[in-house]
């Protein structure tokens, strides 16, 4: 017996219709989960839906333009909020990864509640999936990390929560996405807190630029290698900026520069994963490009950890 995407689609469109008497807003990140949830919600609610995308300033290179396109393709009411300044201000001085996630979750809700008021919506639709609430813990279950769309929600949230994909894992969501013809069905997972959890330590606009550039290089080189069938396309592949400075030599001068960790894993549902066996020449290209092109980075390391004992993301 396999997963029945068509049955889920019928069930959840009906479910959303039943749950939302008035209007709803949906939080869109441009990712598979929220886009799929948005399509389901648009089938159920049509005009009664407002899709909201927040540019947090923590997105990847050229991402906002791409997400804006995805959101417009939904053919529902939509708003694109530019809130980078608000997010960076809220994150100033914060190093603890859990605090970062909670701050970001709260900020999202603050913005969604603002939009919901204007649109007169009483419900918030989210593309929350099983690993999000599982890893956020509760009662007996330990909190592995605060997923912004679960534990980042304030206790006194006024909006009613509607989550049509709650019981699904990513591989099942992709099946639903493909059935619905969602363009981003194969996109790699990108965390809600974005690049904030790919910078170990305090998040600043300057560090965000560095990790964004490094990540673009990692993504490009791995995608080229995967297209050439040198390596299976990993489940996720990205760069992390470490709070570690080490000695290097540039043009006969000593440098004391920053470090990027390259992370690439293979997985089916994100609940267990193995580190990707990227060919050395691909790692070599990534390392050379990052240390040449991204100012201040003089060392690149490769993360060889499975999940468990590590998680896929570093924070």
């Amino acid at each position: 017996m396999t997963f029945d995407a068509k049955a889920l689609i019928v069930e959840q469109v009906e479910g959303i219709r039943k749950s939302v008497a008035g209007k709803a807003i949906i939080a869109c990140s441009g990712g598979v989960d929220s886009t799929t949830a948005a399509v389901l919600a648009s089938h159920a609610l049509d005009d009664r839906l407002l899709a909201v995308y927040v540019d947090t300033g923590l997105m990847r290179k050229d991402e906002t333009e791409d997400v804006a396109r995805t959101v417009k393709e939904l053919k529902v009411n939509h708003r694109i909020l530019r809130a980078a300044d608000e997010f960076f201000a809220a994150l100033r001085g914060v190093s603890d990864p859990e605090k970062k996630r909670t701050i970001i979750g709260n900020k999202f809700i603050e913005l969604f509640e603002r939009e919901a008021k204007t649109f007169d919506a009483d419900s918030l639709v989210q593309g929350t999936i099983a690993p999000d609430w599982i890893e956020s813990g509760g009662q007996l279950r330990d909190r592995i990390k605060t997923h912004h769309n679960v534990a980042g929600l304030p206790a006194n949230m006024k909006l009613k929560l509607v989550e049509p994909l709650r019981d699904l894992y990513k591989d099942e969501v992709r099946t639903v996405a493909r059935t619905l013809g969602v363009r981003v069905a194969e996109r790699q997972p990108f965390p809600g807190p974005g690049l904030a959890v790919r910078i170990v330590g305090e998040v600043t606009p300057e560090k965000t630029v560095l990790v964004r550039e490094a990540s673009a290089i990692v993504e490009h080189e791995i995608e080229v290698a995967a297209k050439d069938k040198r390596v299976p396309l990993p489940w996720q592949y990205f760069a992390v900026l470490l709070p570690v400075q080490t000695v290097g030599v540039h043009g006969d001068l000593r440098v004391y520069g920053q470090t990027i960790a390259v992370r690439a894993v293979d997985s089916i549902d994100g609940m267990t994963a193995t580190y990707s066996k990227i060919p050395h020449d691909v790692l070599d290209r990534i390392s050379i490009r990052i240390t040449n092109e991204v100012p201040g980075i003089n060392r690149v390391v490769y993360d060889v950890s499975n999940k468990p004992p590590a998680t896929i993301e570093w924070e």
């Binding site: 017996m1 599982i134 007996l140 592995i144 019981d167 549902d269 609940m271 193995t274 004992p309």
Partner: protein, 190 residues
């Protein structure tokens, strides 16, 4: 056929539900403080993995003891569920000398219905801080790994099974087959 998953607060409890669902079984996740009377029409139970440190503090396992005492159908304990089965029935669990996280290799020493159709050696995924240090009276140890001597156990007569590793995750080889074998036991018991 109805097989429920008792939620001991594991990261992969919901995966156990997913595997059973894919195998066509009527399944549900129930909190581990559900009254035993809720399980009257259930044909088999899975005691899920969990966060509680059974080797240190077995008190956090809700009504798992009552299920082991009163539920007459087959029971599969996974990780914390397996360790609790051991401590509750007269064996022991303690912090593992070498805990295992992620990949390990299990060697099956004793043939059993649970491993029917499987090779003697296969890759499994672990995530445990504690381990069974003494199997309960009436039980047989079935499999081990280099760092953990009781990776699988069963009661000689009653259909009670314990697995230290996690058959429910994608990275454990033959995971669904192990569940299928357990379901065969459940079928034969009704």
């Amino acid at each position: 056929m109805r097989v429920y998953v008792v939620d001991n607060g594991g990261q992969w409890t919901h995966r156990e539900w997913r595997v059973l669902k894919y195998l066509g079984v009527d399944t549900k996740i129930v909190p581990n403080d559900s009254p035993v009377s809720d399980l009257k029409e259930v044909d088999g139970l899975v005691l899920s993995g969990g966060a509680p440190r059974v080797g240190i503090d077995p008190e956090k396992m809700g009504k798992n003891g009552e299920y082991l005492d009163a539920f007459r159908g087959p029971i599969l304990g996974i990780c914390a569920g397996h360790q609790f089965m051991a401590t509750h029935l007269g064996g022991a669990a303690a912090p593992a000398k070498v805990p295992e996280f992620g990949k390990s290799v299990v060697k099956v020493h004793e043939p059993d219905v649970l491993f029917e159709g499987l090779p003697d050696r296969f890759e499994v995924w672990e995530s445990h801080n504690d381990e069974v240090t003494k199997i309960p009276p009436g039980f047989t140890a079935l499999a081990s790994s280099p760092n953990c001597s009781v990776q699988a156990m069963r009661h000689r007569d009653r259909p009670l099974f314990g697995l230290q590793f996690h058959p429910e995750v994608e990275h454990t080889q033959f995971g669904p087959d192990i569940f299928r074998n357990f379901l065969k036991v459940c079928e034969n018991s009704t």
